[in-house]
Symmetry: C2
Amino acid sequence: MAERSAPTDGPVGPDPRRRSERARRAVLTAAAELLGEVGFAKMTVEAIAARAGVGKQTIYRWWPSKAGVLLDVFTELTGSGSEERLPDTGDLAADLKAVLRATVDEFNDPVIDRTARAFTAEIQHDSAFAEAVREQQLRPGLEAYKARLRSAQEAGEIDPGLDLDIAVELLTGPFHQRWLQRTAPLTHGYVDALVDTALRGMRPPG
Amino acid sequence: MAERSAPTDGPVGPDPRRRSERARRAVLTAAAELLGEVGFAKMTVEAIAARAGVGKQTIYRWWPSKAGVLLDVFTELTGSGSEERLPDTGDLAADLKAVLRATVDEFNDPVIDRTARAFTAEIQHDSAFAEAVREQQLRPGLEAYKARLRSAQEAGEIDPGLDLDIAVELLTGPFHQRWLQRTAPLTHGYVDALVDTALRGMRPPG
């Protein structure tokens, strides 16, 4: 019988992964609070570290900048990102309305709204951060919609000739523009009407 | 006969309105140049004034902030704002494609792109400025589209029951989202396909 090897899960004592996870959550909470209290411009990595009770180097080990921390706050609060999938009950309109109503509720939450506005501003100036946001948030989000539309296309619910990239943008672009520019309120009634209007043009011919 | 009154157009010598207009243009040019050279964060009202050869107080008399100057740079470069109207040749798809192709060309111009990104970032932080952008740029732009759609509705080209606010967002939101997030290139082919796809859902029934 081979000698039993030592456990590979780390040293005796508190699990370092659990400790890291606690520190990570403390940083996200501190960043979300500071953003609300002082705004993005006045928020510093030092202040986040101090409030979270971690060293500044701990933050820089995990995140490239304060904007990067906020991106993770947003991902955490909205449960969005690479694992994102839309419901598929077989009723495309109902599924899209459910998702967009939930998104309305999220973006009407001041913490999520504030976080998303901070990194929307930041991606205009910082192209490396913009690429991170695209990879972590935007493309997975658009892909999740596209997969749901592809499934509807296969089920014969929408036109097989439809350009799905444009179809996704018809569903998400109006919402995004209205949120960003605050030209009108985001409500459940609005996204229901948006889905109905956008889908009119996606139905199979005849 | 009544005595002739003195001319009311100002004193003899250089017309002060013309002098103001020269100063205004010098400020806009200086701001556009500085934005390209140093970026929004490092650009100051002092530096704009120095380059334009005017006093700092002249800038503050006309604009509330450096972002306000950039808003006028954008309005000037794109010819947009309250006087904006869409062409109306009687062919809605052709008119929308013409306008959106021109908008593609504008947003692919680095000076316009940079200016629009700077104030898109700024409206996330500064709500008074955001309201100015909505009043000067966004609402007139959306209204111009809406007026063209209303005319198409009256001509029987699109469904009389269509919600025109949502219809406008279906045409402008996808473009805006793609530009802002740089998820894919802005081309003439793209906006042609966008117009065709969006209009499919707007045609009158039957």
